[in-house]
Amino acid sequence: MPGARVVKNRTEFEGRIYEQLALVQGIDLRAWPADAELRQVGRPRPRIDGVQRVSGRARYTTDVVLPGMLHARILRSPHPHARVVRVDAKRALSLSGVRAVIHRGNAPRHFAEEVRYVGEHVAAVAAESEEVAEDALRLIEVEYEVLPFVVELEDALKDRSRAQRKESYSRGDVRRGFKEADAVVEATYRTATQLHNSLEPHGAVAVWDGDRLTLHESTQAVFDVRTGVAAALGVGLDEVRVICDFMGGGFGSKLGHGHYSEIAAALAKQLGRPVRCVLDRHEENLATGNRSASLQKLRVGARKDGRLIAIEHVAWSGTGTEAGWVAATTGPTNSLYDAPNVRSEQHLVLTNTGPFSAFRAPGYVEGTFALESALDELAEKLGVDPLALRKRNYARTDPQSGKRYSLKRLDACYARGAELIGWPRRKPGGAQGRTSYLRRGLGVATQVWGGGGGPPSYATVHLNADGTAVVRTGLQDIGSGTRTAIAQIAAEELSLDLDHVRLSSGDTDAPYAPASGGSQTTASVGPAVRLAAADARRQLLEAAAGLMEVRASEARLVDGRVIAGRGGKKLPVSEIFQKLENYTVIGKGSRHPNPSDVWLRSFGAHFAEVEVDTRTGSVRVHKIVAVHDIGRVVNPLNAASQVEGGVIQALGYALMEGRVLDRPSGHVMNANLEDYRVPTAKDVPEVVVEFVGEPDRRANNLGGKGLGEPPIIPTAAAIANAIANACGARVRVLPMTPSRVLEALRR
């Protein structure tokens, strides 16, 4: 196998392109052809860890209990902006069961002098029980110097120190484009701040063994937590081990280490005992990230024949206190349609609210709502069918780079989706429901996203003496079923049953694997695992051929048996190696770079059927049809679950979810799961899921791309378009609550 070498690679992550160097080993395999007879990959398989999930035995970070473990709770700022003048912990420390209090005064590394939002951490207590730690928080006396603040996006826009242009893009000449347009739609769209509310809270359990920290953390990225915590503590990477076995959701909010990780580690070090620091639901809704609220101005112009001639999109996203980056709201505008003249700007707006973080397709969700709503408004104005308008402006090559796509079957998504929803039923002006005040309508919207994954990612496959296999790779399973997909890939290459493949993962002591984010996990790790399995198989066959006295090229591995020669000997692996007693064959694999001559993207189309009660403004979504093009689907059962979940999360975003701030105090008024409404089993419509399924053989050796984020992207726009079709109410503000629908109806 050729040794390590450094290669160039281009990867898309969370809507942006990154050019990086990566270290790879060996030679890549070609993707399986479309007609390959695969026995594991592409088959619906229940989760390999399903039994643990249904029996309560799955151990999540919050379930980790270690001998002598202490509980930490965090004191948070009641002010949206203040200077911490003094912290007095004397009374807290005198409470029975309290072991330590850390704050600005004694742990300046972990607490800032200036707090910038309600809920920023000010001090932390470690105590023998959670209840005592909670009691102690009330005994900590903090003197604050209260400072001026702004919490609402539209208030902060006026302030130049808070609103900054972060990105701009243009092609062609939009001014000339709009002059040549026969129809122009100009509209402003607004979206609310969405709170992740992963059911497992953010948290960590820290334990030191001498100089080495082991951190159990609920995270989407064990390696990024390791880097962050090592830097925060000023120690080497070898001194921090991060473990995440089962994980209760993250949706983008758990992509790095948090203040809770640092606090748990610092207290555990100081006290010489394990410390658990897990946030409660209120804290989750203040201090662990959110999807930015957005204000978006869009202009879309087209010729009479429906050909898009110009698009202009300016987006302001409220990032709270996060100044480093902003979501790519204008990404879909720049890349979805074949429009010759496009100009866009992305602004970041700082407010005194909790910092935003990635949230499942950050930016693309907000931007697609605006763009795909505007496209329907344009179709209405031109008097053309909205689906026809989209097909009319279909991008055959990537509009930004000019490159061909590795594969694009959005056309098939449109065709199949239209068939499944019954698109020909759609009439301008909608249809009447059971009674005169109920109006029914259909809507469509399109999704574009990355998710091709890329290097670096590594795996080893260890073959045991009885023919079973262990796959070792650091990846964590956010809950999407990645571990099962990875096991299927290894089982395919090793020709083993799925229950003979185990995974050792979620641990930084294993080979590097990337974050479970950016829809990249399976497409990044899977190809490395396939190569590792192929390497292990090759070594096994070489050794077996020697023992069987045949040439290695004549030996094949089928169902744990080595078959040598044409119709030759068939011997179980365990028998061939009987004399060896013990051995480990170790196969290695790394993720190779993406092709540089083509563009990797995933596509999809959602169709919605809704019923609007024109008396109350309430919207009932009856059906969502979701058709996605991600190349080869490794596990259609898990994949369908992921699409259903994305659609349902988007349904919440479209109709009910939104953080409510109290402007005078800066407090979040609905920081709980009663007032912040997420969909329940009673809210969900019929969701029909299909995949185009044609392998994208240029993408990687699996022929598949990622699916985590695509299904949340187009749903809100599809619902908005269906509402407009049903009753003529164009709602340009999310969530589309009954009062907003009524308001739009009256316009």
Binding site: P46, R47, G50, V51, R53, V54, S55, G56, R57, A58, R59, Y60, T62, D63, V65, S129, E130, E131, H196, N197, S198, L199, E200, P201, F246, M247, G248, G249, F251, D280, R281, I478, G479, S480, G481, L637, N638, A640, S641, Q642, E644, G645, G646, V647, I648, Q649, N672, L673, E674, V678, P679, T680, A681, K682, V684, E686, V687
Partner: protein
């Protein structure tokens, strides 16, 4: 204070402060971490267990109020559990799985009193159990499949 509980058919005694919830006693004092703490105020259902056969939110019940009561959790062997658990695995009725023990216990409570529920009744039974991953369509399908499997076995 001392509290005697019947947990999954075993007599258990714990010493807990009067303010300790049943959920904290199960998780911290008895090591039964299947029931999850998500909201700790009765909004989400992740801590659902059966108390005297009824599904309840363990975070809203004080442990002292359970003195002498029969408590069944996901770790136990309630007669409904097997069919529901198998159906959840077969239907992929979860994603992250954090809400799963609560969903299953809510359905166990339903099937104990209603052997052949309608789809709407299954939906109502889990309407108090949030799933942020959005596994609802398959949770409902699994609930119905479990009911059918049990009816067939009888």
């Amino acid at each position: 204070m001392p509290i005697r509980l019947d947990v999954n058919g075993e007599a258990r005694s714990v010493h807990a402060a009067p303010r300790r919830t049943l959920l904290d006693v199960l998780r911290y004092d008895l090591g039964l971490t299947g029931a999850k703490k998500v909201c700790d105020r009765g909004d989400c259902g992740a801590c659902t267990v059966l108390v005297d056969g009824q599904p309840i939110y363990a975070c809203l019940m004080l442990a002292v109020a359970c003195e002498g009561k029969r408590i069944e959790t996901i770790e136990g062997s309630a007669p409904e559990l097997d069919a529901i658990q198998q159906a959840f695995v077969a239907h992929d009725a979860y994603q992250c799985g954090y809400c799963t023990p609560g969903q299953i216990m809510a359905l166990a409570g339903l099937l104990r009193y209603l052997a052949q529920p309608s789809e709407e009744q299954v939906r109502i039974a889990v309407a108090g159990n949030l799933c942020r991953c959005g596994a609802y369509p398959k949770i409902v399908a699994a609930g119905l499949a479990a009911a059918r499997a049990r009816a067939k076995a009888k």
